[in-house]
């Protein structure tokens, strides 16, 4: 049986052994309900509070009570956005966010729009970078929330959150940060980021799935999202997922402990992989910021190849990656992130995301470097677009194909702010 080479850590991660070990007692013996008065319940309560403290410490929250445990990152995000919006509905009904947010943010905003809120989706530059001044300009007297992600899940670009937070503070507007891709991977401090709300998900930092948390700055006014008992100080009802929470706490603790060495290890492998791809495959573009980017993420647009075919071809070789397009509602849609950074439609279809993690080894990366160009070559061999390109009937849409910086913008072709019409490759 071939070994799986997992290069999709932005989708989810393997549970780290320390987290699994920490969870097991709460799946086996300590099954108490944390709300119960007796000892068995108190065991659970204690474990939850310890996990909460660890999380608070990891993100630099002053008080563990500022951490509210949720059933995952999407829940935290939904609650942050809808909870604040509903609470402030008599004050104003305007939200500022960006064009490259995760669908949990996007669709929460769309939902509010359907209820009469107005949302400004601020654009980004070629690298997916948000200009803080654009956020400042978008804020009106009706703005009740700004929501910007810390790092983009698809292209890895790190946003200037501290600066944006500063602006929000000056303007007196609450600021939510979707830090699902960064907590446990790079230092995250709610003080340095100047945020009022911050979402995280355990399974992105080697914790279990189905558990997450929302940091809520004291004094934030927001409606509850899940109503029921008085759990989480009346903020989030529902019997706590004790084992999950314990696993999240342990994962956060270990992630912090090993953060530096994990980053060094992963960055080295990622850089090596990236470099090899650009030297072995022609007509490839790097999506995302060349420097302000998560150390584990490489997003590529490979000309004349379908992302779907790439994923399946790599899967057959035991390599797990994901694409820039998702067959979500039945339609194959181009990622809104790639659209926002101006990747031409047909190039965006050939996008793949490689996101590395702590357990990846040098051998695995060698194997990926060996397999990936072969898969691309085989798919290009059946691509009529590639045939035309090779015959000189079509020119590459990647300016860098002629040599040079692979992350060069498409500036001689189009401007992302002009929309997507007429941006197909010229034959």
């Amino acid at each position: 049986m071939k070994k799986t080479i997992y290069l999709d850590h932005n989708a989810t991660t393997a549970l780290r052994p320390e987290a699994l070990e920490a969870m097991l007692p709460y799946l086996r013996n300590h099954y108490g309900n944390a709300s119960s008065i007796y000892q068995l319940g108190q065991d659970a309560r204690k474990a939850i509070d310890q996990a909460r403290s660890k999380l608070a410490q990891v993100i630099g929250a002053g008080n563990p009570e500022e951490i509210v445990l949720t059933g995952g990152g999407s829940e935290a995000i939904n609650w942050a956005i809808k909870g604040v919006a509903l609470s402030a509905k008599d004050k104003g009904r305007h939200i500022v966010t960006t064009k490259i947010e995760h669908s949990a943010v996007m669709n929460s905003c769309k939902y509010l729009e359907s209820l009469g809120w107005h949302v400004t989706y601020v654009g980004v530059d070629w690298h997916g970078y948000v200009n803080p001044n654009h956020i400042r300009e978008a804020i009106t007297k009706d703005t009740v929330l700004v929501s910007v992600m810390h790092a983009n899940n698809e292209i890895g670009t790190l946003e200037p959150i501290g600066e944006i937070g500063q602006i929000c503070r000056q303007k007196g507007v609450p600021f939510h940060v979707d830090a699902v891709q960064t907590v446990g991977k790079i230092p995250v401090s709610v003080e340095e980021l100047n945020c009022d709300l911050l979402s995280m998900a355990a399974h992105k930092f080697y914790g279990p799935k189905g558990v997450g948390a929302l940091y809520v700055r004291p004094g934030m006014r927001m409606h509850s999202f899940i109503h029921g008992g008085s759990h989480e100080r009346n903020r989030r009802a529902g019997t706590e997922n004790v084992a999950g929470i314990v696993g999240m706490g342990a994962a956060a603790e270990w992630a912090q402990k090993e953060m530096k060495q994990e980053e060094k290890h992963v960055r080295h492998l990622r850089d090596k992989l990236e470099k090899a791809i650009f030297s072995k495959i022609e007509c490839v573009r790097l999506n995302g910021h060349p420097t302000e980017r998560m150390f584990n993420t490489t997003n590529l647009s490979i000309e004349a190849v379908e992302g779907e075919g790439m994923i399946i071809g790599l899967d057959m070789q035991g390599i797990c990656v994901s694409s820039g397009s998702a067959c979500s509602s039945g339609h194959t849609e181009i990622s809104h992130v790639l659209k926002a950074i101006g990747v031409p439609l047909e190039l965006a279809k050939g996008s793949v995301r490689l996101s590395l993690g702590r357990e990846n080894t040098a051998e695995e990366i060698e194997k990926a470097i060996e397999v990936l160009p072969k898969v691309v070559e085989r798919l290009r061999a059946i691509s009529p677009i590639w045939g035309d390109y090779k015959k000189g009937l079509r020119r590459s849409v990647i300016p860098a194909a002629a040599g040079g910086n692979p992350s060069l913008p498409f500036k001689d072709i189009m401007d992302p702010r002009q929309g997507h019409s007429g941006m197909t490759a010229k034959g």
Binding site: K2, E308, G309, I312, G313, D315, M316, Q317, C327, S329, G330, H331, T332, R378, L379, A381, I382
Partner: protein
């Protein structure tokens, strides 16, 4: 490794489910693939048969899970629209009657998907078709000095590897269960394709296939057979044409009796097919039958039952399973639509007279010059020889080749 990789096109029906199960049992490294041929959103609130609905995708996935094989969904919406739906519409616009399943097999499954599978490292492709492929080792039975049709549509001299001595040759045969035989929709397959396709269910009867499905506990075991065109909602092809072809491109026109008498008005030629009885809106006191759709004059010609019988037809885009045309004339069995009972006919070069019995000096030289048109003369006149439908040539249960019916020769 070591196991041969095979892609199985899983439609979500019982036949392709069992094809996957049988191949897995035979030790292949089976990869299930379901083609998404239509956007599911388009199908919302409408009933679709065939293999394009999302529920069929879930059935295929469930079967793949039960068999413990990987399963992927390939987005073929553009390919399908470009080569099947557009063909379907074009055919009606030419006043012909299309067979979209053949187009799907010819351009989507056994061309695009076959190449796609190969690019993904699987040399073999299987489907749930009821047909058989037989491998014969040794020199091919084809005569030398002919061209060989390769899958890419180009031709190669007989010195190409397929036709040189020693290589195995492949024979396409009817299914064991003749009531389910689908070799008719596969006549276009050539040697290269046959060397890489498998039809595992062709060896079994339909009840046996359902039995195997039950044995494996597949949820598709008792799923009804699909009889419909997969992309036409509720099998209402007239409604589909009405919505897909603008009205000005299918104008109403005269219905004339075979002697030229004006009998009434038709609703647009695409709504009729040769041999059709009734549905003409005529009150003449006896049933009349559609004899022909005349595109130039936009006329629907009708006549008596006996008038829809014809014995000579011209067939275009002819291909041969062996890769080479037989010496003409040649007596074969010809099937002119899916449910037609094949009938004996003589195939000949279209330039030959009806009574000609002498072969052309060098029939193969004609083939080599790119002739893909052939003439067939039935021993007994056949009902509803319909342009656009396939004419498939058989010798016993062996498929020799086939083509598209171009017109009836008066």
């Amino acid at each position: 490794m070591g196991q041969k990789k095979i892609v199985v096109a899983m439609s979500g029906g019982v036949d392709s489910s069992v094809a996957a199960a049988l191949l897995k049992e035979q030790g292949y490294d089976v990869i299930g693939v379901t083609l998404k041929t239509r956007n599911w959103d388009d199908t919302e609130g409408r009933k679709f048969g065939g293999c394009c609905g999302s529920s069929d995708f879930y059935d295929a996935r469930s079967v793949a899970q039960a068999l413990d094989i990987p399963h992927y969904n390939f987005d073929y919406v553009n390919e399908f629209r470009g080569s099947v739906i557009s063909y379907f519409k074009d055919s009606y616009m030419k006043a012909e009657t299309p067979n979209p399943c053949i187009a799907c097999n010819q351009y989507v499954k056994f061309d695009r998907l076959l190449h796609h599978a190969q690019a993904l490292g699987a040399d073999l492709l299987a489907t749930g078709h009821y047909a058989r492929v037989e491998r014969h080792d040794g020199p091919p039975t084809t005569t030398s000095g002919v061209t060989v049709k390769t899958p890419s549509g180009t031709t190669a001299e007989s010195s190409s590897p397929q036709a040189s001595g020693g290589d195995p040759s492949f024979v396409l045969k009817k299914a064991v269960d003749l009531s389910k035989d689908q070799s008719y929709v596969l006549y276009h397959l050539g040697q290269e394709q046959l060397s890489r396709v498998r039809f595992p269910v062709g060896e079994f009867s339909k009840p046996e296939i359902r039995e195997i499905a039950r044995k494996y506990g597949l949820i598709t075991a008792d799923k009804p057979d699909s009889q419909e065109i997969c992309f036409v909602p509720n099998n209402d092809y007239r409604g589909f044409i009405a919505s897909e072809i603008p009205q000005e491109e299918r104008p109403a026109g005269p219905i004339r009796y075979k002697d030229g008498t004006l009998l009434g008005q038709h609703q647009g030629l695409p709504f009729y097919t040769v041999g059709q009885r009734g549905g003409l809106g005529l009150a003449v006191g006896r049933p009349l039958y559609v004899m022909a759709l005349q595109r130039e004059s936009n006329t629907l010609v009708v006549g008596e039952k006996a008038d829809v019988f014809a014995d000579s037809l011209e067939i275009r885009e002819v291909s041969w399973v062996s890769g080479a045309a037989p010496v003409l004339p040649r007596s074969v069995s010809v099937k002119i639509r899916y449910k037609h009972t094949e009938a004996r006919a003589v195939l000949m070069d279209p330039r030959q007279g009806r009574s000609a019995t002498e072969p052309l000096a060098d029939a193969n030289a004609v083939v080599a010059s790119g002739m893909t048109t052939i003439k067939a003369v039935f021993e007994q006149p056949q009902s509803a020889v319909t342009p656009g439908q396939a004419a498939v040539f058989y010798e016993g249960d062996v498929v020799l080749g086939g083509g598209v019916i171009d017109h009836v020769i008066d």
